[in-house]
Symmetry: C2
Subunit: 348 residues, 2 copies
């Protein structure tokens, strides 16, 4: 069977996803009988393109590399030029893969794109935090009404299972409390500072390696962490949307240098820790640099790695750590979400 | 709908599972519409009992506590006294929950029980390592032929997701290499020795707390760890069955005391580490005490906790740590496996 993918966004993640799709399409067809086709690519600044039989991904990547646009590859049969919303509305496809540029302030236009696709009863897969942070409950309600799947493992911890861990593995378990190291950039900076670097040099290094968000203040001032903690709280703890103004956020821009000396003395580490705790009838969400002792499961979460510690009502504490950043990892997260749409992909 | 459970074994795990079932049955019915019924209990040394409408679990637990038997509760309509195999053969049920006494040497009689149930096309859930270690490939083949589910999350890491993590979350990912702390008893002993205890005192303490296997040599000499490493290798890496004689096994009974001094000097920990590595056309499985440096993800896996580090071909390294022992945790693992048999239990 064919599965037609509508890709929104062709930045680092969109390109990495397309390249991964090209690499994997044959082996996925062989192992599962599902033929993944890139039916359309839509962007706001690089044009749009679609093809009934699926776009030729190598041409698309090459043309974007040279011209900066997706509508110039000259593939036979390719239609170009319509606005994104018209394409979502008008085209036939099976799954929308949303990775347009992030907007933590409002979650737009991604929220509108996702809503349109779900409203059509189409499955949606995204790595975009904005729509989840602002509109998880609304989007998930629409998905449920329209019997569509809405998956977003790539939004937090870049494909290291968090949401599917509870939905598909720890079935019937409730999350009572969360601690997490959810921002790779600030964790990388803290590790460099532990080894004696200044904050400024560490920030330059992490930007040079392109780990950070385009606006590094989102990382270092704790906004990215706060949005992820809130997403986990909404999805796994049924917390309502909590605006930034009601989250206690402290970043790593102005740290007491003494913190690293004290951490060193106890063989611990300074980490930017997100916490979610359920209180009587509310949820306390916070982001704050803390010293973790050496026996804390998140102490060894180093560099751009992420980690989350969950207190469950069934088997106690569970901790999972893994990839925290990177377009390729995010692309894998999107592809795994797509594969999980097909029950029959799952190995026995 | 009713889901009729056939429970084999009424030791620590069987009793904990029954008690958990009793506690959860109402909330599961309410949240999913599935009515879990304990249709039968069969043991080799405590008798057998079954009831068309489901056994009264509190009577069963009480009668076993007083008389040591499951066939003496005097519940109306209860049939007692048939051999286990006749009951599996003759009774109608939906899922076999196998937690009879462990036998790492041959995996019997559990393997036969499981095989009979799968052959009837019935789903099987187990926490019993023996059948998995010796006969995973055979049992999984029968399950596949008979379109039955065969789940065993409780065999390794006591319900902390390992198998479902790859089958249901990291879909399409291959495991290239594994490191694990898979035996809670030896890990608890190593932690006590780190704090200055002798091996003998630590062993007595862990036995007093009833964490260890009935034969503690299975834990401390590495056999339990080796069987679990082999199970993971078979299930997640397609390794063939590897007999103990072909696994390199070193336990913790005669440790060089200098090991702890060296570990302390580098702020590390001594852990009994299982490794599985795929080589050209074979698999190297080993169990050995090692010093892990403080930045190793398994260094902080303390006490009876377990942990496993997987190198994947998609998103790199993933580490998961959690419960490593305990009848209640194992009972939760069995129940989660049962719940996952019903796709509709899964939260959206």
């Amino acid at each position: 069977m064919d599965l037609r993918i509508f890709l929104v966004g062709f930045g680092n993640v969109g390109r990495a996803f397309s390249a991964l799709l090209k690499d994997r399409v044959a082996s996925i067809l062989c192992s599962s009988g599902v033929n993944l086709k890139l039916a359309a690519v839509a962007t706001r600044s690089k044009g749009t393109a679609c093809h009934d039989e699926g776009l030729e991904i190598s041409h698309l990547l090459e043309s974007e590399r040279i011209t900066g646009r997706v509508d110039s590859s000259g593939q036979k049969g390719v239609l170009v030029g319509k606005p994104v919303v018209d394409m979502i509305e008008g085209l036939d496809f099976d799954v929308l893969v949303e990775c347009s540029s992030p907007d933590l302030e409002r979650g737009e236009p991604a929220t509108s794109y996702i809503m349109m696709a779900l409203d059509k009863g189409k499955d949606v897969v995204t790595s975009n935090k904005g729509p989840l942070f602002h509109n998880y409950h609304i989007l998930s309600e629409i998905a449920s009404q329209r019997k569509a799947s809405f998956l977003f493992e790539g939004t937090v911890m870049t494909g290291t299972p968090v949401f599917s861990l509870f939905r598909r593995c720890l079935i019937g378990s409730r999350v009572l409390r969360i601690e997490g190291v959810l921002n790779g950039t600030s964790n990388f900076i803290l590790d460099m500072m532990k080894r004696g670097s200044s904050f400024e040099r560490a920030l330059m290094e992490v930007q040079r390696r392109a780990y950070s968000e385009p606006d590094p203040f989102l990382d270092i001032d704790g906004w990215d962490s706060a949005s992820k903690a809130s997403i986990i709280a909404q999805v796994l703890m049924d917390a309502p949307f909590t605006p930034f103004s009601e989250i206690s956020i402290e970043g790593i821009r102005t740290l007491d240098p003494d913190l690293f000396i004290r951490a060193d003395r106890m063989a611990g580490s300074v980490r930017l820790i997100c916490r979610v705790e359920k209180q009587a009838d509310s949820y306390a969400i916070s982001v704050k640099p803390e010293i973790l002792p050496s026996n804390h499961p998140l102490c060894s979460v180093s560099g751009i790695t992420n980690g989350a510690l969950f207190m469950t009502d069934t088997i106690g504490e569970i901790c999972i750590t893994g990839a925290g950043a990177g377009p390729l990892q995010t692309a894998h997260a999107l592809l795994m979400d797509i594969l999980s749409l097909q029950g029959n992909f799952s190995r026995r």
